[in-house]
Subunit: 65 residues, 2 copies
């Protein structure tokens, strides 16, 4: 399954890399793509916990909107 | 939180209505928007179970891709 969420606060390639790196640590997540312009983060994987995703994003200083 | 998933097999307004109606029955889902052209289904709500969403979509003859 693939889903797209919106993440606020990412402004550059470093932010993008942080988000990708942190999300890839979550069980079930196989692929992460970030579009800085649209704020869209596309996540591929199986049985991904939305709560875990939101907490991980918060933890590194960004926000799921 | 808002997320977008892709659903295959919807071809007309009736399909769109079925998907919306079925998803709105799921606990936590507050709003559903369907874009037939891009196959994107935007879901707004809290603590939405992806598994429940996938099963609901399957149940009415469409497929989460």
């Amino acid at each position: 399954m693939e889903k797209i969420i919106k993440v606020d606060g990412m402004s550059c390639g470093h932010c993008e890399a942080s988000v990708k790196e942190r999300l890839m640590e979550i069980e079930g997540i196989e692929q992460v793509q970030v579009n800085l312009e649209t704020k869209e983060v596309k996540i591929k994987g199986e049985e991904i916990s939305d709560k875990e995703v939101e907490e991980a994003i918060d933890e590194i200083g960004f926000e799921v909107i």
